[in-house]
């Protein structure tokens, strides 16, 4: 068992950027893995991605021709299992993406490989792989090892590692994906509805206000600010209860869940249990509050202790038009 197998990801005819980040992760631990870095792309027309994947440090790019045009968990599971059987890698790197989540645990469970999901660091300690991931709502780092496992599947978090810019000259090979009976069928892609309607669950970027705004007249400037920075405006329950913003903007229990949110800026929100139920899962929470003891800081990734009006006005002034 040696070397690293990276499974690249594509969607709608485009390579997803996380693929190149994973290659950088693989190249970074290549020496410790004492074997080649192999990158596989599984697609109906895999050749078109080969060049983009040929970055410095990659030894081989395998273009796996699959009969299945769009993602299918069974087809991917069988294909990656075949790749592992052919290459015997000690580490298999997959993006921690919605598609990987649909088959990586099944693959590991079936074949008895080591498994760690949502890792943000991998290293070899005395020849044995150690993956680091977050625990307890990302408050702690958790080191995970894999006793007795010679091959380990790791789904690795996006936006952790910078891609390698320099081109390389790996061998490009072909392979046919094994046939799998279809149990599911991709019908179509649907883009999130844009338009004027308030969409807290669908929004990726939310700027939310709470009691800290003080009075209704102050709401306007935060509505304007949200528009300036391109965020959906959300609010905590007291703001909606007062009738200052519509219920459709209320985040939390009895309100909406920020299901899709990647960046949540909470301004003047102390962080009641009710509110946090709707947003505490968001990966990037920025809390702005005058009270350094506010509960919201416990779950925030970034904290600003300060006056929301001053911060809001600064943001308005500094945000590039």
């Amino acid at each position: 068992m040696s070397g690293i197998l990276v499974i690249a990801e594509h969607r709608m005819d485009e390579l997803r950027p996380v693929s190149l980040e994973l290659i950088a992760v693989a190249v970074g631990v290549k020496a410790q893995a004492s074997g080649p870095v192999t990158v596989a792309i599984i697609a109906n027309d895999p050749q078109k991605y080969a060049q983009a994947l040929s970055v410095q440090g990659v030894d081989e790019v395998i273009c796996v021709k699959s009969a299945v045009v769009e993602f299918d968990p069974d087809a991917y599971e069988a294909t990656v299992a075949a790749l592992i059987a052919a290459k015997n890698p000690s580490l298999v790197l997959l993006p921690h993406s919605v598609n990987s989540l649909a088959y990586a645990p099944a693959l590991a469970a079936k074949t008895g490989l080591g498994l760690a999901t949502d890792a943000f660091k991998v290293e070899f300690d005395a020849g044995a792989l150690v993956a680091t991931r977050g625990g307890y709502g990302q408050k702690l780092n958790v080191e995970v090892d894999f006793p007795g496992k010679s091959t380990v599947v790791v789904t690795f978090r996006a936006n952790v590692c910078k891609p390698i810019d320099a081109a390389g000259s790996p061998t490009v090979t072909q392979m046919d994906a094994p046939a799998t009976p279809a149990r599911g069928q991709h019908k179509k892609y649907i883009e999130a509805a844009g338009g004027g309607d308030v969409d807290i669950p669908g929004s990726e970027f939310i700027l939310s206000i709470g009691r800290g705004v003080g009075e209704e007249d102050n709401v306007e400037q935060f509505r304007e600010l949200a528009q300036t920075v391109g965020a959906e405006l959300g609010c905590s329950r007291p703001i909606a209860d007062a009738g200052w913003l519509p219920k459709s903007r209320q985040v939390g229990q009895s309100g909406k869940t920020a299901a899709n949110c990647k960046l949540y800026i909470a301004m003047g929100i102390s962080g009641s249990v009710q509110h946090m139920a709707g947003m505490k899962h968001v990966e990037n929470i920025v809390a702005v509050n005058t009270d350094p003891k506010a509960s919201i800081f416990h779950i925030a990734r970034y904290g600003i202790v300060g006056d929301i009006f001053e911060i809001g006005e600064e943001l308005r002034n500094q945000f590039p038009a």
Partner: protein, 264 residues
């Protein structure tokens, strides 16, 4: 007709916690327990199907964990689940999500549900693995991160939407029975009525052991796991970053964070 819903008692830490002396977990005195947020949504999805079918559907919740987990199971019963199953004995200690999935699959084999719902992930350790691994042990079709579901009890196919990255959804047709991992926001979870809470106290919770489910000692615990926690620690530069400086400087950092999110 039956839907099996897997639930988990999650643990959260406030600031100022202590790590256990073996360094592999947080001192349990510092853990605050609750029902996993995602599980509210998967239970609600099952309850919606049950109610639309007019009561022909049995909703069974299952969890793996010690006695304290009964508190979460009672919450599910209070919201209208018909029955609850909890699996535990000391051999389960140290199980990773795969070993847990093996236990749940064993329960599912006994129960023979028409559908199995799990949360996409749990808020404490965010593995996002248990549901799909369960599907593998059962040999069932599966879909991860389901944000819309169209399913009539008894039908051979379900139509669903999976929430992908970047505001894109994939519509998929899937054979049933299947395992679906349910995403936040798929529905509006209900609250348990006070009457429901009272009635839940009288509903049964079946407590099973792995061996009663036909599992061997090597199927569960560390032996049945694909990974092991070696160490937990608070990162030197905590995950949380306090942005310092004058408001102008703080906002300069905030602008950067927004730009990074937008990929500028």
């Amino acid at each position: 007709m039956k839907i099996l819903v897997t639930v988990k008692q999650v643990a959260a830490v406030d600031d100022d916690f202590e790590i256990r002396t073996d360094g592999r977990d947080v001192d349990p005195d510092f853990l605050i327990h609750d029902l996993n947020e995602w599980d509210n949504f998967s239970l609600e999805e099952a309850m919606k199907i049950k109610e639309a079918a007019g009561g022909e559907v049995e909703v069974v919740v299952v969890s793996v964990g010690p006695e304290s987990v009964d508190e979460e199971l009672r919450k599910c019963l209070a919201k209208g689940a018909d029955r609850a199953i909890r699996v535990w004995d000391d051999s389960v200690e140290g199980s990773d999500p795969i070993a847990i999935a093996r236990i749940i699959a064993a329960v599912a084999k006994n129960e023979a549900p028409d559908m199995l719902f799990a949360g996409v992930q749990a808020s404490d350790h965010s593995y996002a693995a248990t549901g799909i691994a369960t599907a593998s042990f059962l040999g069932w079709p599966h879909a991860a991160v389901v944000s819309l579901l169209n399913y009539t009890p008894g039908s051979k196919m379900a139509t669903l939407q999976r929430e992908l990255e970047g505001g894109t959804y994939a519509e998929v047709e899937l054979e049933c029975p299947a395992v679906l991992t349910i995403q936040l926001g798929i529905n509006v979870p209900r609250y348990a009525s006070l009457r429901g809470i009272k009635q839940a106290a009288a509903k049964p919770i079946d407590v099973l052991t792995p061996s009663a489910l036909g599992l061997a000692a090597t199927d569960v615990g560390e032996a049945g796991s694909l990974s092991r926690v070696r160490r937990m620690y608070v990162p030197a530069k905590g995950q949380a970053e306090l942005i310092e400086g004058t408001p102008a400087e703080q906002v300069a950092r905030l602008v950067k964070i927004i730009q990074e999110f937008k990929g500028v």
